[in-house]
Symmetry: C2
Subunit: 217 residues, 2 copies
């Protein structure tokens, strides 16, 4: 499980904090408005009132301990920028920032944000892709127990697909093989695999974990 810090508990920040917690991660959630903190008290590991632009207060949270830091302050772009700079200088490993527009997004990228999300805009693009028939790579729902993942070929996965016999040994099916940026769907069984080829594999989540363990993950 990951240690996550979420700063700013508007609609976006609250959804990030509570969903990470439901997935079993440790979540610290902070906001400068008491009401916003109250709403999530029982839905995260620890909630606190804190002004993230106060560098001493930020330092007291133990910034380097967090795997992910999400800065979900929107309207007050100055506070978002100050908090991002402070977090990075205190040793934050990964900072994900929310931005309200393209200009703010570019500034946040320049000052070191590892990822910038524009919730309204990004959701608008995804919605249009879905309505407009672009086969976004959101696979049809295979149910909670099944997944499609990438598995990179290493020395444990030598030979041809026929040699490896993944369907019988692990119960997973290879639906495509990626090599050098090109993807071959429904690959031939006698194709010799090479290191760094990427297998696109579908199967039950436990079967996929088995395969990953076998490969040495």
């Amino acid at each position: 499980t990951k240690q996550c810090l979420v700063i700013g508990l508007g609609r976006f920040g609250t959804a990030v904090a509570t969903t990470l917690y439901e997935l079993g991660h440790e979540v610290v959630a902070v906001d400068v408005v008491e009401d916003h903190v109250q709403k999530v008290t029982n839905l995260v590991t620890h909630a606190a009132i804190l002004d993230a632009t106060d560098e001493r207060a930020l330092r007291s949270l133990g910034i380097p301990d967090f795997d992910e830091i999400v800065i979900a302050i929107g309207t007050d772009i100055k506070a978002n920028i100050l908090t991002t700079i402070a977090a990075k200088s205190l040793g934050a490993r990964r900072v994900v920032c929310k931005a309200t527009d393209e200009v703010s997004a570019r500034v946040l990228e320049k000052i070191g944000a590892d990822e910038v999300i524009r919730p309204e805009h990004d959701m608008g693009v995804r919605t249009a892709q879905r309505l407009g028939g672009v086969r976004r790579k959101d696979t049809p729902d295979l149910g909670p127990n099944t997944s499609i993942v990438e598995v990179e070929v290493n020395e444990r996965l030598r030979g041809t697909l026929k040699d490896l016999n993944l369907p019988n040994r692990f119960g997973v099916q290879v639906i495509a093989v990626g090599r050098g940026g090109r993807m071959e769907v429904a690959p031939r069984a006698d194709e010799e695999l090479r290191p760094h080829d990427v297998l696109i594999v579908v199967g039950d989540n436990h079967a996929i974990e088995e395969l990953r363990r076998y490969r040495g993950d």
Copy 2:
């Protein structure tokens, strides 16, 4: 290509309208504020200033002609509700609404919205799923020419998978079969298909179009 109407050109509505247009669809975009309309004039098929709560104005757009109607009015929930009711009563085939909170979302569903999106909240959930390591069904990137889609079994797709022989006839692979809420991955070739089964199919986009056409889409 689809005929789409987007009402309300905030960040979400603008992203929906311009992305649908870039994907090659016909897009009419309207807003009550002239400035918002000006910004998209060259980015959609047709942009107009219009108050969507004015039923006569709405009627003049030819509501039944649109495949998708997106109502992206947020803060003024009354305007959103009035517009949704008016669009449905004028014969709208599909209405997708934006909502700013859960209560509004429930009201919009009750009055007939076919789909309700809460951009900040929904993007927060997706972000947490990605950061939190849930294998969201976002498949690894199979490249722009390959897709994974659902194809519902109808009278054109009778018999067993072996009988249908989809890999040789269309160049697509069936990776799972869904029936009554359950999903069977790596299905047996002699499994007799039934109407309303859902085939999860992977293949080149042209091959998938072929299969859809054969099925009668």
